[in-house]
Symmetry: C2
């Protein structure tokens, strides 16, 4: 069974490489003509995954429907482009498994990734692939594990079987909502953890904040109909602990720089055009969701105060530490 | 209300300092006469927490019953000495809150810390204090959060109220078993994570392994009568993510050195007498528990094979990666 991948950024290309090295045929769809040419000709994606020699079992195309004709189709655009990616395969075959690998919430609508896909390609069997992965590591063939979720466990298990390789281990779940919330919210918690580290407040404080952040994620997920325990898997705890403890994460490193006393404008100006720091925008979307669903999210709120309202970091930290404890579960 | 602390190692002394800086009177009981003298005279515990100027509100004593006369009593011995620490206050007042801060399982009996205490001081109101903390950070007044668990939530909440300071935030739980399992098992998972890091297998693999390790901890805890969700708090996820990602952890750094190719004998010889690496012995205790309760613990088992049976690391890693996925929950 061929695997079609739509979106040839670092993550889409890394997944293509992992599957191809695992013996599977892959069609990788890129928007940029030069990527199509360089993957097919030089077996490299010089733009988004430079320095990795791609497996010849990866064929690139500029036609989304060509990738969508494969047995399993992965959508790997940036979160805010998922709507467009779905539209590009809107005539996809009835029942075809479509696995969304973008993490996030659509800012305009506040919708989850599968919420968007269900509007545009309702005929597909929707799933998500999410978990603790750095593209560069997966592209090099280092071991990793992810959550693959679909509404029916049967579908999730079959997709796992189709995607599994010796180095990429997918775990099946039928909690489609739960699997998406962790990946979307973790970037905000990662900014908070970065701030703590940058401010020199120690590893104990960072671990405590990460844990409270996880509790917030779980509360929100539960309100949205997910199961709490889903957040204990790769898509929750796993993804959070990777993102919120590594300078490889753009969100964590942003927080770290804020904690060291740099201004947001300054940091963002330096990054302009080079990378997206999703947590900054997600923080705002979360404030809307927290209010809409009546969920207490003090860590996300503190991050929003710092990055959205320009409140001084020390005042925000003090506010969090002085919150009364009564009524908060351990 | 005075706080009595029995055990003046790094952690007991750090807790004493945190409480005293938070405005509470503390009686710290040390076995070593020179510690009693130096805490009372020079306001320092030069042996176990050098370089920290202790608050004068800490009074040291050599008499355990003097500390046990305080309103709340903390027991902070090494895990394998808890039995002796309990015996030293066996005539403690009926109903007195006794908070155990040692993490581990008694190797001889396979019992939890509160299981031991319930045998010797059944008249006390037993609780545990556990979570992600490095003693040196807490002693410096850096922020932290912990789980305080007792069988009745009411007791846990009252103990939290008695112990809370602005920098040390306790969260109450009534899951006494769940709160203890994370702290006991995490050291074994930390060795595994260290091995992965030392072997150069990447942050993604380490996060994945930590997550699977958490699933093992939760499975074991559930079999022992705990609630799964307890493991999502400070005492589970929090403690694990701190221990399994920092070279400050003796267990993680042991794994790291093993992963780099050094032998266990070599590493242990270097550490001899200076520090205890609890994960090595806990791994063996876990094998007994896993079999007794019929719990699948592949990560702990792999660690035991490496540190207990001398199996080569690469062969053990390969075995874990080739485990069939069917039937494992995400």
């Amino acid at each position: 069974m061929k695997i079609g991948i739509i979106g040839a950024g670092a993550w889409g290309t890394a997944l293509a490489q992992a599957f191809a090295k695992g013996g599977k045929d892959v069609i990788l769809c890129a928007r940029e003509e030069e990527i199509v040419a360089s993957v097919n000709g030089q077996h490299e994606n010089a733009l988004f995954l430079p320095g990795i020699e791609l497996d010849p079992k990866i064929t690139a195309t500029g036609e989304p429907m060509e990738a969508a004709a494969c047995g399993v189709v992965l959508l790997v655009p940036p979160a805010q482009y998922l709507r467009a990616a779905c539209a590009s395969i809107k005539d996809i075959e009835e029942g075809k498994p479509v696995v969304i690998c973008a993490k996030g919430i659509e800012l305009e609508s506040g919708k989850t990734m599968t919420g968007i896909a269900a509007e545009i390609i309702p005929q597909a069997t929707l799933a998500v692939l999410t978990g603790p992965t750095f593209a560069s590591e997966i592209a090099k063939g280092l071991p990793s594990a992810v959550t693959v979720a679909s509404s029916r466990l049967w579908d999730a298990e079959n997709i796992c079987a189709a995607l599994a390789t010796r180095t990429l281990r997918p775990y099946a779940s039928d909690d489609l909502i739960g699997a998406q919330i962790g990946g979307a919210v973790k970037n905000v918690i990662a900014i908070a953890c970065g701030i703590i580290a940058g401010r020199g407040l120690g590893d104990s404080a960072r671990a405590a904040l990460m844990t409270r952040g996880l509790a917030e994620i779980a509360r929100l997920a539960e309100k949205l109909g997910a199961r709490r325990e889903t957040l204990m898997g790769m898509c929750g705890v796993g993804d959070l602990m990777l993102t919120a403890s590594s300078m490889q994460s753009r969100n964590y490193s942003l927080g770290f720089q804020l904690g060291q006393g740099r201004t947001l404008d300054d940091i963002m100006a330096e990054r302009q055009g080079k990378s997206v720091t999703e947590g900054v925008t997600t923080a705002k979307a979360l404030m809307v969701m927290a209010e809409k669903y009546g969920v207490d999210m003090p860590v996300a709120q503190a991050v929003y105060k710092c990055v959205g309202e320009g409140k001084p970091i020390d005042a925000t930290i003090a506010e969090i530490m002085d919150r009364p404890l009564k009524g908060e579960a351990a």
